[in-house]
Amino acid sequence: MSAKNIFLKPGFVRAPLQNGVGRYVCQLQRIVLKFCKSNGSSRGLRDYIEQDLVDFAKENPGVVVYLKPRRHRGPVVVAEYLNGDRVWMNMHNKTHSEITKWIDVLRTQQGDNSTTRLRKYQYTDHPSIQGPWTPFTFKNPALNTAELPNQAYGANDRLPMSATEQLRLMFEAQKLGKNEELKTAE
């Protein structure tokens, strides 16, 4: 299965609006708790509302909290974020402590994170800080002061020996041998 077949919104790790460079802004802008006053599945959410919700609202004055009692409907929490994302979460039969933790997750995340597929685990606007490569980038500094042409830098050590070169060497060797023979004869 390729990434195309996972129906998730692709994205990068980014802080919205350079959040934290200037000042930190909580990205959760409003939260709606929908519940039933009599149904058992809303029990945990009702407990949360009775015991923790006022403290939550006091600690986070920037989050607008709405309560929406609905008769004989399942408990739901909807979180809306500054970047326009909306997270819908079913709280059916969840206990008080579970709901506390889920709401903490909703409060601290920066958008609809669970439905984004991260394309990479890091992100940068500037992949290179040394600029584009050129043939001069990693040049040996010794070349700056070298006297050219220089056998050390200009030697041909990549190609195999040419036929001409081989013949020349053979000829030289032969001549050398003759001379030696002559020498020894003398």
Binding site: Q18, G22, V25, R30, V32, N83, P135
Partner: protein
Amino acid sequence: MALIRRCVPLITKIVRIHPTTVQTQKIHRWVSPTLMELKRREDKVGKRINPRNTYLEWNLEAELYGFGQRLNEEFDPDLLLQAFTDRSYVIKEEMKQKEMDFDIKMKDNRELAEKGDKFINAYIQNYLETVLPKFPMEGVKGVRNFLVSEDTLANISLNLGTKDIILAAEYPVDKYILATNFKAVVGALLESSGEERAAHFVRDFVITQLNGQDVNEYFSIEDPWSMLADIVKKAGGNLEPRLIGEVGRNTLLACYRVGLYVDKKMVSSGFGESVAIAKEMAAREALKKIFGTEDHMKPIDFKLEGIPKPASQTRYQISAS
């Protein structure tokens, strides 16, 4: 008859083994064309989006309070409401009131926006002059124009969650309304909390947009060579370009490297596919060094307290040359 009676089990057996109808998903033939037609009509009219403020769970007062608290600022509630009231909304309401024969005066955010716009421009100009002390005025102006452009301000406004709160005739609101709204919010803050708070607000939300950006991109230099020559001449130096590298001449991958020397000391180097381009790149590199905006420059300081003093007089002016 006996023959038929004897054949009946055989026939039922055959039917059981070879069913004549293949089991298929039962979707009526009309479903697909109907859905296609509905989709076509929806595309033609445009999808209707319900504005958030028409929902049952909506309280404008709480939203405005939350807006101020979220940004850690204290706004005058009336001024903030005025900042969120767009001109188009006021016109629409007045038309409605005319029909119903009553009159309630509403204030729109044009005045606040104008005030905020002036403040934002002046503050950003001073701030940039302070944090980029060697950058020429034209460059500072370019960076400022980027920061106060409609796109940038609209993006900031959108990400501060104003989209749903704005009172406008249309929904979703367009960029102009978002940008005006942001300026008006700054104007409202200026009136309710004073200059310093407003300045820090602009610093934290507008100037931080420069984080990770290259300021040189907002300063387009037509002819870097003559600009550099001019500066060096004024300083009394002798500028000399030299070809210090040459690879693959007369090929597609030719690369030349030009070094710039002032009084026989290398200032910068640049490369390119021709000598002219390499020379221009070297001049740009040298200008960046002079302006203090090299690629490895220190990040811009986003924590300056208070309102910095203008320093325009002491600066190098290009327009003079």
